[in-house]
Every structure is written in C-alpha cells, then in structure tokens.
C-alpha cells in the first residue's frame, strides 16, 4: 500500500523522524551520546542514568553495528556525524501541513498528475505521525493513510477506504515498491531514521554553487531495493541536495535532486520540489510541495484511526 510522505527532505533523509534529531528535547538522547536512554543528567537521578546506561549497554551488545561507534572508521564516523547534524537542525518543527502534487512523466509526450495533502506531527520520543489524503485521481479522493513511524522496526499504518468507510490496518513491510506508480519507492518517501543506514563520508564537492559533503549510506534493512545511496548535503545548512540510488546489483538506478529550499520559522528548511529521474527506464517524477505551514497546532488526537476515518 502507499506509504505517506511524512516530511519533505531538508536533511540527510527524505522524510521521517530520524530519532536523534530529538536530542535536546525531553526524553531524547544528546546528539553525540552513545547511550540512547541516558537522558540529560541534570534532570535525572543517578539511578535512572545508571538504568539507562545498562539498557544502552544491552542494546550495544545486542546490536553492535547500531551503537558501537568505536568500531567505525574515521570516514564512517564523519558520515554519521553529518547525518546527525542534518537531523539535529530540524528538531522542534512540532507539526506541518503541505499540499503535494506529483507529476509522472511517462514519456516525452505523456504526463500524469496526482495530488495529495499531508499533515505531520513531530513525536518527542519516537518517529513522526502523519496522515496523507489523496485528492487526485478522483477515484481515490478521500483515501487516506495514517502512519506511526518508529525509530526501530516496522511502522504502524492504517488505510481509510471511503467507499466502504473502512479503516484497515495494513502492512508496512513493503519497501521497494513504487508509490502510486511513480518513480518514488515507498522507502524513498517513508520514514528514514538515522540508524536505518550505515554512513561513510566520501568527499567534499561542489553541488550547484554550494560546497557539499558527499556521504554514502547503505540501508540496514535487507528488504531495501538499494545496495547503496550516495547523498550530497550542503555544508552551510546541511540540506539534502541530491541522492543517487544504486539497485541491488550495484548499478545506478535513480537520481533525486531537491530544489527551491525555503526556511520556515527561521529554522526549518523544506524543498519545494523533488525530482526523481530513473536512469534505467527514462521515466521521471516531480514531487512538488505547496502551502507548507508549520506549527498549526495539530495534536495526537488528529492522528488516530478515528481521525483518519473523518478525512475527506
């Protein structure tokens, strides 16, 4: 089933809620800590810090790749640092809404448009919640998807079918399938936490007129359709500027470029356009974001199965 885009890409990831970006917030780890559950010590008792250390240690032992930074090379550390910094810079957006238009270019003469609306709620200690509602094509009008993104494991997802008035829990296990027949795969648009990739810093390079970091990232999820991705992130604002996607065989499959960045609330950068070009098929999809709005006062109660069924 379609997976909603919960966030435009302004960081290393296309959307979603890389968990470490919540660092300074309540219940969130500091950006550079190795201990995900060790909160800001000033506000904690020694006991709870100790508890956090123990749990984090358990995590570190259970999943050495996830937290044991000691094992990372200098390039891997630097890549991870860049991803985390990009992530950190978007903490605190609270909630956003936007209108989306997707233009699918099937051939030089044939284009198809889709339109959707999305609302996203930042969650303090987990991935974001989001709802996407379809407006076009018209037979899908009112169809909506609620997603609870999780830092680790599969997301929770419900689909609302207006014709039957049915809210249906759906599997979020699909990663590599196309979203609405477009060149965007579910995983391109789905939540991508910091630790859903392993990073390697490659080089510095001009992208456009800006100096960028070039960082390779390898999906941790074996169900990913990609063997690796190469990302370009500008050094000034840590915004994602470009991603090259390599298929499972290691061949270049797609390139996404991001354009029209604007800063909202003097902090949060969002691109107006994301263009995905498939090098193997020649098709492309342009995803445009309009009417971005921040901190409109959305709450948990706006992201429930009941609220989903009240969409239109």
């Amino acid at each position: 089933m379609p997976t909603p885009i919960t966030r435009n890409c302004n960081r290393h990831s296309l959307r979603g809620a890389p968990h470490l970006r919540h660092g300074p917030g309540p219940g969130s780890p500091a950006p550079d800590t190795l201990l995900p559950l060790a909160r800001s010590p000033g506000a904690q008792t020694r006991l709870s810090v100790l508890f956090g250390v123990l749990i984090a240690l358990a995590f570190a032992l259970a999943a050495p790749g996830a937290f044991a930074e000691e094992a990372l090379s200098a390039e891997q550390l630097r890549g991870l640092d860049i991803a985390r910094e990009a992530d950190q810079r978007d903490v605190g957006f609270s909630d956003t809404t936007a209108d989306l238009t997707m233009v699918l270019t099937l051939s030089p003469t044939e284009q198809v448009a889709r339109s959707m609306r999305q609302m996203v709620l930042e969650v303090a200690d987990d991935g974001d919640k989001s709802i996407m509602v379809f407006d076009r094509p018209r037979d899908l009008k009112g169809t909506a998807i609620l997603t609870f993104t999780h830092r680790v494991g599969n997301d929770d997802q419900w689909l609302y079918l207006p014709a039957l008035k049915r809210v249906k829990r759906i599997s979020s296990a699909d990663k590599s399938g196309p979203f609405m027949g477009s060149e965007f795969a579910f995983e391109d648009l789905a939540s991508q936490e910091v630790e859903k990739y392993r990073y390697t810093y490659l080089r510095e390079e001009e992208c456009g007129a800006m100096p960028c970091y070039v960082v390779e990232r390898i999906p941790v999820d074996p169900k990913s359709g990609y063997s690796r991705q190469v990302t370009w992130i500008d050094q000034q604002e840590y915004r994602l500027q470009r991603v090259d996607y390599y298929d499972r065989k290691g061949d270049l499959l797609k390139t996404m470029t991001l354009d029209g960045y604007r800063q909202y609330l003097q902090r949060h950068w969002r691109a107006d356009e994301m263009l995905m070009v498939n090098h193997q098929s020649g098709k492309s999809t342009l995803l445009r974001f309009d009417n971005y709005q921040f901190q409109v006062g959305l709450q948990d109660s706006d992201f429930t199965r009941g609220a989903l069924s009240r969409m239109r």
Binding site: T97, D99, L164, R166, K175, M180, V296, R310, R312
Partner: protein, 564 residues
C-alpha cells in the same frame, strides 16, 4: 494618526499592468507572519502581518485577472496563505512563489476585474506591521448591510476572519479541512451478462443499469464541524426492486476535544476479514446492489465517540430501522419465490421505530488491532418465512409451493470481537459473534490470514494470498450458509499508474462441496474513469444447499464509472 502613516494607493481598476510600490527604495528582506482575509458587505480585506515595516510592489494583470504583490528578495513566509478560505470573496485562488531574483511573489487570481487599494499600517493595539489590500466585493447591492461603522483600524471591519495564525494555535483546524463546501461523486453504467438461461420466470438474461452518487461536504468552525450529504440512486432496466434511491449520508458532526458527536444518516464499517463481514452490524445491507453485502443503506443515528489513550469508545443510538433490499421477481440472484419486501414480519411491536443501541470499544496495541462491541435491537439479517397466500391461510404448507418469502426481523443481542495482528507481510484476522435471540442463540466466526509477496518476479506488482475459515453454529439455511466453509483467494496489486488490482477467490462448503467463485478487477482509465469487472460463479452446488437458488446465475458484470 494611523492614516497619516498609511500609504494609500489609488484604485487600480483599469490600470492594467500598472504597478505601485509602497515605500520605494527600502528593499530589506521581509518576514510575512500571517495572511488573513476578512469579509465585509462591500469589500474583502486582505491583511499581511509583517515582521517589520518594509516595501512591497502591487501590480495588476489581466486575462485572466490577477493581483500581484512582490516582497523584497529573501522574504520568508510564502505559505502564509495556506488554509485561508477564499470562499465568498472575489479571489479565486492565492498562490505564492519565489522569483528568480529571490523576491517573494503572491498572486491573487481574481474571479473578475476587481478594484483594489492597498496601504500599510504601523503597530497598533497589539497588532504589528501590516499591509492591507481592499478588494470590492461583487454585487454588493444585493447584500444586507450588517455593519455600517467606519473602520478605525485596518482590522476593525473583519467580522469573519478566515485566517489561520500560528499565534492562535488553539483555534486551528485539521489542515485538510477547509472551510469551503465541495461537490464530488460518481456516475456509473453497469451491465450484467448471465451465462445461463434464467431458472425462474419472469427473470431476464441480461441487465443494464445506471447509478449516480453525488456527495457534498462542507466543513466549518476550523474543520471541527461538518455537514455531509450523499444520496445514491440506481435505475435498473430490468428489476424494479433494483431501481432504488437511498440517502447514504446526511449528517451534522461536531468535534470537540476527545469527543465527536454526529446526528443524521451515515454508514459505519466494523471488521477485519475479507470474505465475510460478520461483525459489521450498524447498517443494513443494500443487497440488490451486490450480493457481496458490501453496499449499505444509510442508517439514521445519533453517535457519540470518545477518544482516549486506552481506546476509542463509540456509542450509537439507532432510532429507525432500514429493511434489507431484495431482488424483485424480474431480478436474477434471487430466491424462489422472491422475497416480498412489502410485507415484513416484526418481532417487536415497534416495528421500524424500535430504537437500537450499539457500543463499541476499539484500540490498537503494537501490532494488534482489537474491537469489542455489543448491539441490542433489530437484527439486520432477516429470517425468510414462506408465505402461502392463495389458500387463504398459512395452515397448509406443502399443499402448494409458497407464493412468497416474508422477511422476519427478530430482536437480538449480539456481542462481537474483531482482531487483527499485523506481523510484517502477514495479517492474521478474526471476527466472532455471539447472537442471542428468542429462537436459537448461536455463535459464528470467521478467521484467517493474508500474506503478501511484494514485487513479484522483479515487477512492481504485489501478490497476496488469502485463506479464511468460516464457522456457524446454526443449521444451514438462507441466513447462514457458512457453517464450515473455506475461502481461499489471491489479491494482485499492480502498483501501476492505472491502479490495477484484482481479487479472486473461491468459497467451498466443506460439508457438501458447494462452491462460489468470485473475481473482481478494477483499473483506472485516464484521469477520471474506472472500469470494474466482476465475475461470479456457483458450481458443484449440493441439492440441499441454499445457494441452489442461484445455480443458474453465473454472471459477469462490467461497470464503467466517471468520477467528478
């Protein structure tokens, strides 16, 4: 004093292409905090709340009529117009965009040429710097003058601000809820072709029908209130009973914190399984529409929902009963004799006025979705009682075949459970009911799984496998055909631009082998059309099985829908 600072711009009517700049020369980057619209009887006022005093440029363009406001390079706040309703104003649409020189442009698409004037206001009475544009309303003569006072500030006349301001977060809507009403809907043509000759007179070989289902929604109070209207009508060339109209939705709804109140007519779906909808009980089945029982008649209701961290509670008071629709004498897929819907039997003396109640609690815990419900009232599924007219009494069954079947609506108490566990690509589903009534209490359930393979054969398509087992304690009859039945099916989802999908399956009665095969396929044609094909077949039907009535009713149905 205030007006002394305002730069009043002359009327721009007929000054096509003309432009006026406020405070020329001061081109510092601006920040637009909010954009608001206010409507008075004679004009529409557009207010930009600005972070600081600064310059702007106003120009008009014609063919089509547009009003353009440019702010200096670097200006932020392009999305300030999101969720601003332009309903009832001369503005058709508001757009914004960053220009090549990095300036920020707002474009107001006007419905017709409209005189406009603009001025700026300095901070005053808790308001910050503002840019104000006044547009004359069309046909002001027809509108009553509600307010005659002269504005003393730029916002004094705003009786109906439709704005969304970040500072005013408590009053904010669901962003997808705009304040404007909207018509949409579909128009469809359907043709059914039956493979065999009809079993009963005066049935026909083929059928054609047309259905129209418009819908209207309007939200207001920042999306917290809604009015909905969705009528449905079908004209069937063959079956008079299938030519029918219904109001699927006609309700008013109010959301307030964790509470949602709804009064009127609506459709409610409960359940998780695919091959049978056992726990779904609020609405009556519109059986003439489709034997899959997924089409429902609108149910009058008063509904109260309460959302909490420990689940959602839903209370329904159902003051009026809807009778099930059945095919008429001319229709296929019917019993013999046909059901006489004009002459129902009721257990309750209140008949259709019996007030039914339902309460449901639902929640999700991790991978699990759970619903528990209780219903007390008139059974949606009637018993079908033979009627022996022509002999004057019903005392001599067997002397002659019954002339009709009469629906008998019992009073029931039904408790239900529905559960789904979502484990990666595996969905595990269970629905169960316990039904208490004056004739025979019974238990029934349906449960199974759905497993999906994604990207089969390197393509974009997904293939799902479905298995569901049906159990019903009752003896087999027309109301309960799923004593010990197995559904197996597959679902193909194309993930393509046409949104192609196909569901095919077979339900086999494990006791007597009677089988029902079903294929449903849909794809989009262009932007606004869909083509649906359904094929159904009854085969290997046992002589004692109630589906024997439909043994000759294998059919294929083509449906073309136009959405608007």
């Amino acid at each position: 004093m205030k007006k002394a600072f305002a730069i009043v711009v002359p009327l721009l009517l007929a000054l096509l292409g003309n432009s006026v700049s406020g405070q020329p020369g001061a081109a510092t980057a601006q920040q637009i905090k909010t954009l608001r619209l206010g409507i008075t009887p004679d004009h529409t006022r557009v207010v930009f709340d600005l972070a600081q005093p600064g310059s702007y440029k106003l120009s008009t363009l014609s063919s089509p009529e547009r009003l353009v406001i440019d702010f200096p390079p670097g200006t932020t706040g392009a999305r300030a117009h999101n969720a601003v309703s332009v309903q009832g104003t001369p503005i058709a649409r508001i757009r914004s965009g960053v220009q090549p020189d990095n300036s920020l442009r707002f474009v107001f698409d006007l419905r017709s040429a409209t005189p406009a004037r603009s001025f700026t206001l300095k901070p005053d009475q808790g308001r910050g710097n503002r840019l104000v544009i006044d547009l004359s309303n069309p046909a002001t003569a027809d509108q009553p003058t509600v307010e005659a006072s002269t504005p003393t500030t730029a916002t004094a006349q705003m009786r109906r601000p439709a704005s969304i301001t970040p500072q005013d977060a408590t009053a904010l809507p669901s962003p997808v809820a705009t304040a404007s009403g909207e018509w949409s809907g579909s128009l469809g043509v359907q043709s059914r072709v039956f493979f065999q000759d009809p079993a009963y007179r005066p049935q026909n070989r083929n059928d054609i029908s047309v259905a129209f289902e418009p819908q209207y929604y309007i939200d207001w109070a920042n999306g917290r209130q809604r009015f909905a209207f969705r009528p449905f009508m079908r004209y069937d060339a063959v079956d008079d009973e299938r030519t029918h109209a219904d109001i699927r939705e006609l309700y008013w709804r109010l959301e307030s914190g964790p509470w949602v109140i709804k009064a009127g007519i609506d459709v409610v779906f409960w359940g998780v399984t695919e091959s049978q909808h056992l726990v779904d009980i609020i609405n009556q089945t519109d059986l003439v529409e489709n034997i899959d029982t997924e089409d429902k008649l609108g149910q009058p209701m008063f509904n109260l929902d309460y959302f909490s961290d420990w689940g959602t509670w839903q209370l329904y008071v159902l003051p009026y009963f809807r009778e099930r629709t059945f095919p008429g004498e001319d229709g296929r897929l019917r019993t013999n004799p046909a059901v006489d819907t004009g002459d129902p039997l009721w257990e309750s003396g209140d008949e259709q006025e019996h007030i039914d109640f339902a309460l449901r609690w639902s929640h999700y815990i991790g991978d699990w979705d759970i619903g528990l419900a209780h219903f007390t009232g008139t059974s949606r599924a009637p018993l079908l009682v033979p009627s022996y007219t022509g002999f004057g009494t019903t005392l001599t069954p067997g002397a002659s075949p019954p002339s009709s079947l009469r629906p008998l609506y019992q009073q029931i108490d039904q408790t239900s459970l529905d559960v789904q566990a979502t484990k990666g690509a595996w969905l595990w589903k269970l629905e169960a009911i316990y039904n208490r009534n004056t004739l025979e209490d019974f238990f029934a359930s349906v449960g199974g799984l759905e497993f999906t393979q994604y990207g089969i054969g390197g393509s974009a398509a997904d293939l799902g496998w479905l298995v569901e087992y049906h159990y019903d304690e009752r003896d087999i009859n027309l109301q309960s055909t799923f004593q010990n039945d197995l559904f197996t099916g597959l679902r193909l989802t194309g993930n393509d631009i046409a949104g192609s999908r196909l569901l095919a399956g077979v339900i086999v009665d494990l006791d007597n082998g009677s089988s029902f095969g079903n294929i449903e396929a849909v794809r989009r044609l262009g932007e606004a059309w869909t083509l649906t094909v359904e094929a159904r077949t009854f085969f290997n039907i046992d002589d004692e099985d109630p589906t024997l009535f439909f043994e000759q009713d294998d059919y294929i149905e083509f449906q073309l829908d136009r959405f608007f």
